[in-house]
């Protein structure tokens, strides 16, 4: 039945030659697991597009509704948490896939003549993907979204001359708010998808015009070619299933909860960007004062310019890794640099400190103490108490029996167990300037 239908359509549309062009593409040296990364990236991108479209069914891009609609998707719609989890983890997976794809191309020297254009379009696709990540991060409108985007946009302000203007253009005005979320939404779901679709088509078009690079090993390359279909397609499908399984498993096992609703007045929140921006985020710590612009725009610009120019700088036609020590060494050096553990020492909150913070709320400490502008000044302001009293023992003793270390204090004794004492003290010790 299906084949007869196909025949009927084929008689009219003449699909056979098209089918041949698409499926019988020769793969030099035969199908290989080495070539699955591009397909895996494309598959993940399609997955992102699909889950993204479904998220849009309930999502509303406005400051007064965005958070509620994402909560609704996460907690009330059947399967909503799964779709959102897939979109969240899929975003990370797509970055991993792009990274592996680029590494394979880099290692195999597949960016060299005549494939410079394919590489350049690929680098642009990477930039578009990063823009997807950045614009998508704001959309849930929780604390993390708000503050991470705030930091991200402010970094653009370091660009000389036009920095201020760019910041305003990104925000749609002076502040991050209603206009920002709607333009980020439009960019995320309309502008970037069109751009990336064109980019992907161009990338594939060039691939078909130039042909796949095949193995760098001459003897293997000369051993003959194999058609793209069915073995390479099969290998790609196996990898896609694996990738799908991993993303689904992550979505199921590691739910991605929302932080609190975005609160522009809460300056105590420490945002953490997605891991693929982490290197960049942490880099800023090492670029104090006047060096700031260097980290915020000069280095990223150098990075992308370097990638774009790579095929023109490295003009050695030899693709064999063993005869390209300098280029591969530089790449390896870069990888080691970005994976330095130090750079990833994110100021993630110690869970004990978070519990301590909750205790402050639980025992209504702020009915007598002020912390960063919240609460009442009956007792001492605790905003920077650890500057005055860095001594852990003193706090432990003070919570157990306030009057024993602070005679005449009217602070009541609270019924705290050992763990709570520790958590509260850990939190108190974080209250310091700088």
């Amino acid at each position: 039945m299906a084949s007869r239908l196909y025949q009927w359509i084929d008689q009219r549309l003449k699909l056979k030659p098209l089918e041949q062009t698409l499926l019988d593409e020769p793969i030099p040296g035969g199908a290989s697991w080495n070539y699955v990364f591009g397909s895996a990236t494309l598959f993940l991108f399609v997955l992102q597009a699909l889950t993204g479209m479904f998220l849009m069914v309930y999502y509303v891009p406005a400051t007064d509704h965005a958070y509620d609609t994402v909560q609704y998707i996460q907690h009330e719609v059947w399967g909503g948490w799964f779709i959102r989890g897939m979109h969240h983890w899929g975003a990370s997976a797509v970055m991993v896939a792009i990274g592996l794809h680029m590494l394979q191309v880099f290692f195999d020297g597949a960016y060299k003549r005549p494939r410079e254009l394919m590489w350049i379009v690929g680098v642009i696709l990477l930039a578009i993907m990063l823009a997807f990540g950045f614009t998508g991060y704001l959309l849930p409108w929780d604390q993390n979204a708000y503050w991470a985007t705030q930091v991200g946009i402010n970094m653009v302000g370091n660009v000389p001359l036009i920095g201020d203007f760019l910041v305003k253009a990104l925000r749609g005005g002076e502040t991050l708010g209603a206009l920002t979320i709607s333009r980020f939404f439009a960019i995320h779901v309309a502008f970037l998808p069109v751009l990336i679709a064109v980019g992907i088509m161009l990338h594939l078009f060039i691939l078909r015009r130039v042909g796949p690079a095949g193995p760098h090993d001459e003897t293997r390359a000369k051993a003959g070619s194999e058609t793209f279909y069915p073995r390479q397609v099969f290998l790609d499908a196996v990898v896609m299933l694996g990738v799908f399984g991993v993303v689904a498993l992550l979505a199921i096992s590691m739910e991605f909860p929302l932080a609190d609703r975005a609160d522009p007045s809460d300056h105590s929140f420490v945002p953490v960007p997605e891991w693929y921006f982490l290197f960049f985020y942490q880099l800023l710590k090492y670029a104090p004062g006047a060096w700031g612009p260097l980290a915020t725009w000069l280095l990223p610009m150098l990075f992308f310019t370097g990638l774009l120019l790579l095929p023109f700088v490295d003009r050695n036609p030899d693709r064999n890794p063993s005869s390209r020590p300098i280029v591969l060494g530089t790449g390896l050096g870069f990888l080691i640099l970005v994976s330095l553990r130090d750079l990833y020492a994110v100021p993630k909150r110690d869970p004990s400190v978070v519990r301590g913070m909750a205790l402050v709320e639980h025992f209504n400490c702020k009915t007598c103490h002020r912390i960063h502008g919240e609460g009442v000044n009956v007792g001492p302001d605790l905003s920077f108490v650890a500057d005055r009293r860095p001594d852990r023992e003193w706090h432990l003793q003070h919570f157990k029996d306030p009057q024993s270390v602070s005679p005449g204090s009217f602070m009541p004794k609270f019924p705290l167990n050992e763990k709570q004492l520790n958590d509260l003290t850990n939190y108190i010790l974080t209250l310091k300037s700088g």
């Binding site: 020769p26 309930y58 059947w78 069915p230 073995r231 397609v233």
Partner: protein, 173 residues
């Protein structure tokens, strides 16, 4: 085939083809189920009906219809809204209370109580009902719709429902 271009044949080929089809279907189904469920789930959800107190029954006059406000919180997806509907309550001499939906069963207009004629009259198409909701005149296909109600500790509790108009039988929407 061109020179040097090979392709798997025979059972080897059909293994690759069938496996690819199988894997694609597996991914497709694993995606389709949650995605479709996600979209249609709200359509399958039944409206949550709650008992709302309209006030004490003592205050109601016997044998006289009284317009009462039914205020409910409606969940509309991720939004919550408060709406007020006016319903008609009629207290019988035995203390029981009948509550009528404010919507004319003919075509959904709002009817009113004519004190002089002691009849409920719908201004749209002239349906007329007596105090028990029985049709007295006009095109109405069925009596006025009663709403589920009960009395607890002297409070009149009502569930708001809506019914299809124009039918001889009362069918809930």
């Amino acid at each position: 085939m061109e020179d040097g271009l090979s392709t798997p044949v025979g059972t080897r080929r059909s293994f690759f083809v069938k496996s690819t089809v199988f894997i694609s279907s597996l991914i497709g189904i694993s995606l389709a189920v949650p995605l479709i469920g996600y979209v249609i789930a709200p359509a399958l959800q039944r409206r949550n009906k709650e008992w709302v107190s309209l006030g004490k029954t003592e205050a109601l006059p016997i044998g006289e219809p009284k317009a009462m406000d039914y205020t409910m919180t409606e969940k509309d997806g991720w939004q919550e809204s408060h709406t007020t509907k006016g319903v008609w309550a009629v207290k019988q001499s035995n203390g029981e209370v009948t509550v009528f939906s404010p919507i004319c069963p003919h075509l959904g207009c709002g009817y009113r109580w004519d004190q002089q004629d002691r009849l409920f009259k719908c201004p749209c198409h002239g349906s007329v009902y007596d105090i028990n909701g029985t049709v007295k005149a006009g095109p109405a296909p069925r009596p006025l719709d009663t709403l589920p109600s009960k009395i607890e500790n002297g409070d009149l509790l009502v569930q708001y429902e809506e019914y299809k108009s124009g039918l001889a039988k009362k069918v809930e929407l």
